[in-house]
Structure formats: structure tokens, C-alpha cells
Symmetry: C2
Subunit: 257 residues, 2 copies
């Protein structure tokens, strides 16, 4: 039984890609088979996993819009049991191309169908918007949406719009969609603001916010420049330790051995 | 003669809104008449200037899609000479509505026509994407695009896609569009990474990068929670001082008395 999670938030720079890539590495380390789907034209997850987006012959674009099998697009990464459906610059034009297509919100769900039995988890990294790429991610996410929320005031503002979209998708496209969890990121111990934001989020989403809070940690910003996850680059840093704790908490919450 | 700037970058969380709001406050302090256009459905610029997006009767949405005059939408802010064309949640649906419209990339440019003579500068804050809202911003930006670039590795990746879009808009929609400047943001003195990224950007865009670098400064994150710009909240903080310096540098570069 494969569980598909989308890590959505239209607010930019809140740690969506960092959370997907870090959790994927930790889950693979625990022995699970993981597929990361990079659904952002910026291809940050692809480069964070050590691949060069412009050098790939095929990407998730071809699997969504040209009926190429996802299995032909999936590529191995440096980590065992961690595979990637990479992004490419071609994805930038995808949303406009999808507008007129039949069942356009289901393109990713259909593409995933052929690959699900090979993986325990699929983690989808969408772009910072609520457009068709993110709608595809939410429609495919039978395990639910995990929302990274940066501990900054401006990151609070967009949450109600995000919840509107999640509710609409649940009503019209994916009845299984729910908020599977909320991850507080870039928590800065030096400022009261982080704690104020964290409390506000816990109040609005009782029972959904993971106990593990991801601190601001320079190593998390450095790891992608080496094409490595935090688990390879600095596993004993505060960033590495907190994502490992988050993984354990996730496994308990979702009943994974 | 009014100059219109767009502050575009599809990478999320790089400081677009913070730069627009901070520069606007500084330019108004220098005696110039400023209009901020909030083109992001998240309405971060609107709340950073102390207004509540959900309580406004009209927003930029009505000026773009319902032929309401921009002058009827513009609202005053706490700062003298700093006006705002606010965003609202309705803007979230705008991009899909625009797809089929005639001259859809010119909607903002046409809306601005009626208001230009009242302002010295118009600063546009787009969402983190290269969709129709950002295309409208670039098409209206006769002064050019100013690109905030966060001093992080992942922020480098999207610059070539952004430049592709800028060049396409310059060729087909706005011959005056150019890169008017690049602002390095969230520079962290504690890590080599920031300097490496800054050097890389200066190498790729010779002569475009402002000398003034904006440091990471907690006060910039706190100011929006009070609905104030950094010039009101903490004018003598490193964040306040650096944006004041950037404003002076901008005025020199663009020959503003
Ligand atoms: N906990 C953290 N501490 C410090 N830096 C971080 C942390 N998490 C992420 N970063 C860095 O902050 C930047 C933004 O993170 P990331 O790119 O993962 O966010 P995102 O939500 O995926 O952005 P986008 O909206 O553009 O897709 C990146 O440069 C990343 O390396
Ligand atoms: N120099 C800085 N130092 C510290 N924090 C900053 C700085 N500049 C911006 N911030 C904070 O970082 C977050 C991201 O900045 P901001 O929202 O301005 O970026 P953006 O590019 O407009 O984001 P989006 O892509 O979502 O529109 C905000 O919470 C903001 O308050
Ligand atoms: Mg990302
Ligand atoms: Mg913004």
C-alpha cells in the first residue's frame, strides 16, 4: 500500500523542498522505498538530490503531458531506496498547456498509477502557488497534505487561502485529501516572533502540528549546493537531527513500522 | 514622468515584498509620491502596510478584471505620499480568468494609465511565479525589473528561467523592459555560502547588482506583524539602515533628485 503526500504551501520559501528532500532521505534510511516527485519548474528538489535538471532527457513534464510512462522518467539518486521523478525547465509551460485538457487536475494521479507498487511513499514537492501543478499534487495525495509553515508573520496570512483550496479539492477531486500534518520550519530561538507564530498555528490547527519544530540552521541552506541531503552533508547538525526526529514522529503518527 | 518598476522573482521567499515595502517607505520619506501595487493573492504587501485584505471593498482585482478605475481602488496608508492598490483573496482566481481574455498581459498597464500622473514611482509586488500576474507586472514595468535574490544556493537556480521570461516579454510585450537592478537579500555574515552566492550573481550580471547588500535582520520579519514598514518599526536597525542606503543608491543610479 503506497501512501502519497503533497507538501503544499503557496507562500514562497517556507521550506517545502527542504522538508521533502530531508524526510525522503530519512525515510529511505529507515528502510522504506521512497519516490520524490519534483513538480516545481525551478527543479530545486532535483538539484538538491544531486541531479542537473537541464541535462536530463526526460522529466515529469513528459509523464504528465506526453503520456511517457513514469517508470521511464524516474531516475536513481545517490541514496539507496530514494528515487526521483525529476523536474525540468519544460515544466514552466505546463500549467498553460493543461488549462484546456480533459481532467487536467488528474494528470499526475494517472501518471503515478503505473509506479505505485514499487514505493512505500511518494513525496510531492509543488511550486509556491495554487495553480494546476499544485492542484495535481493535491488530487494525487491520498495520504493527505503536509503543510510546511515558516515561523514568520507573513507565512500565517496565506493559510486560510490554502485551506480553501484543500477543501475544494477534497470536495471535487480527491475525497481522501486531508491535512495530514503541519511542520513548523525556520524557527529562530532569538526572536519572540517565532514562538508567537508557532502558538498561533497550534491554536488554529489543533492536533495537526507536529511536535518536532525545525530550527533555522545554516547547514540546511548549504547542503543543496553540494547536491546532498542534510543526512549526507551534516547528519549531526541541528537541521539533520530535527528532520530525523520529525521522521520518527511521522512514522508513529501514520503507524509505519 | 512616472517610472514603473516590477520586483519579480519566481523563487519564493526571497524578499520581494519586504524590498517593495521598504523602498516605498524610504522613497516617500525622500519626498517622492509612491504607489505600491500588490499583485500577489497572498496580499502580503497590503498587510505589511497596515491594511486588512479581507476588509477592503475593492482591490486590484476589480481594476484588472472589472474595469473599475484604479483611482477608486487606491487607498492611503499610514505614510504620507505612500499609496497602495491593495490585493484581495479574489485575485487568487484572476490568472485562470485572464487566460482567455484579449491582450491579457496588458490589463495592468491599461489600469495604471489613469493614475500615472499622480505618482513619481509605481512599485509592483508580484507573486512567486512566472504566470499571468507576473507577466502583467513585467509588461507594465517601463522602468524595468528589479530582481531580489536571496543569498542562498537554491535562489540561483531559477535566475536563467526568469531571464528567459524577461527577454520574451521585452521582445513581444514591453520593449522598454530591462534588468534595472539586482538586490542581494538576506545576506548572512556567519556563512561562506552568502558570499559565494553574491559573487556568482555579480559575475553573471556585471554592472546590475546594487552595491548595497541587505543583511538578514530579525526586525524585517517583525515589522509586518505590526502593519508597519521597517522605517516606522525599527528605522535604526541593520535592516532599516541597509534599505535606506539602497534607496540612496537607487536614486543615484536612476538620476532622481
Ligand atoms: N530550517 C532551515 N534553516 C535555514 N535555511 C533553511 C531551512 N529550511 C530551508 N532553508 C533554506 O531556505 C531557502 C528556502 O527553502 P526551500 O527552498 O526549501 O523553500 P520552498 O518552500 O521549497 O521554496 P519555494 O517556495 O521557492 O519552492 C532555501 O535556500 C533553503 O536552503
Ligand atoms: N533581510 C531579511 N532578514 C530577515 N528576514 C527577512 C528579510 N527580508 C525578508 N524577511 C522575511 O522573510 C520572509 C520572506 O520575505 P518576503 O515575504 O518579503 O519574500 P517574498 O519574495 O515576497 O515571498 P513570496 O515569494 O511568498 O512572495 C518574510 O517573513 C519576511 O518578513
Ligand atoms: Mg521549493
Ligand atoms: Mg511576496
Amino acid at each position: 500500500m503506497t501512501t502519497v503526500f503533497a507538501f503544499a504551501n503557496q507562500k514562497g520559501g517556507v521550506g517545502k523542498t527542504t522538508t521533502v528532500v530531508s524526510l525522503a532521505a530519512c525515510l529511505a534510511e529507515e528502510g522504506l522505498r521512497i519516490l520524490v516527485v519534483d513538480l516545481d519548474p525551478q527543479a530545486n528538489a532535483t538539484s538538491s538530490l544531486g541531479l542537473s535538471p537541464s541535462s536530463l532527457k526526460q522529466s515529469i513534464y513528459e509523464a504528465l503531458l506526453e503520456e511517457v510512462s513514469l517508470l521511464d522518467v524516474i531516475t536513481l539518486t545517490k541514496r539507496v531506496r530514494l528515487d526521483l521523478a525529476p523536474s525540468s525547465p519544460a515544466l514552466a509551460g505546463a500549467e498553460v498547456e493543461m488549462v484546456g485538457m480533459l481532467a487536467r487536475e488528474n494528470l499526475l494521479r494517472r501518471a503515478l498509477d503505473g509506479a505505485l507498487d514499487r514505493y512505500d511513499f511518494v513525496l510531492i514537492d509543488p511550486p509556491p502557488s495554487l495553480g494546476l501543478l499544485t492542484l495535481n499534487a493535491l488530487t494525487a495525495a491520498d495520504g493527505g497534505v503536509i503543510i510546511p509553515v515558516q515561523c514568520e508573520y507573513l507565512a500565517l496570512e496565506g493559510l486560510s487561502q490554502l485551506m480553501n483550496t484543500v477543501n475544494l479539492v477534497q470536495e471535487h477531486l480527491n475525497p481522501l485529501l486531508k491535512v495530514a500534518g503541519i511542520v513548523l520550519t525556520m524557527y529562530d530561538m532569538r526572536t519572540k516572533l517565532s514562538e508567537q507564530v508557532a502558538e498561533e498555528v497550534r491554536r488554529h490547527f489543533p492536533g495537526k502540528v507536529f511536535q518536532t519544530v525545525i530550527p533555522r540552521n545554516i547547514r540546511l541552506g548549504e547542503a543543496p549546493s553540494y547536491g546532498e541531503t542534510i543526512m549526507d552533508y551534516a547528519p549531526h547538525s541541528r537541521g539533520g537531527i530535527s528532520y530525523r526526529m520529525l521522521t520518527k514522529e511521522m512514522m508513529t503518527r501514520f503507524g509505519i513500522e
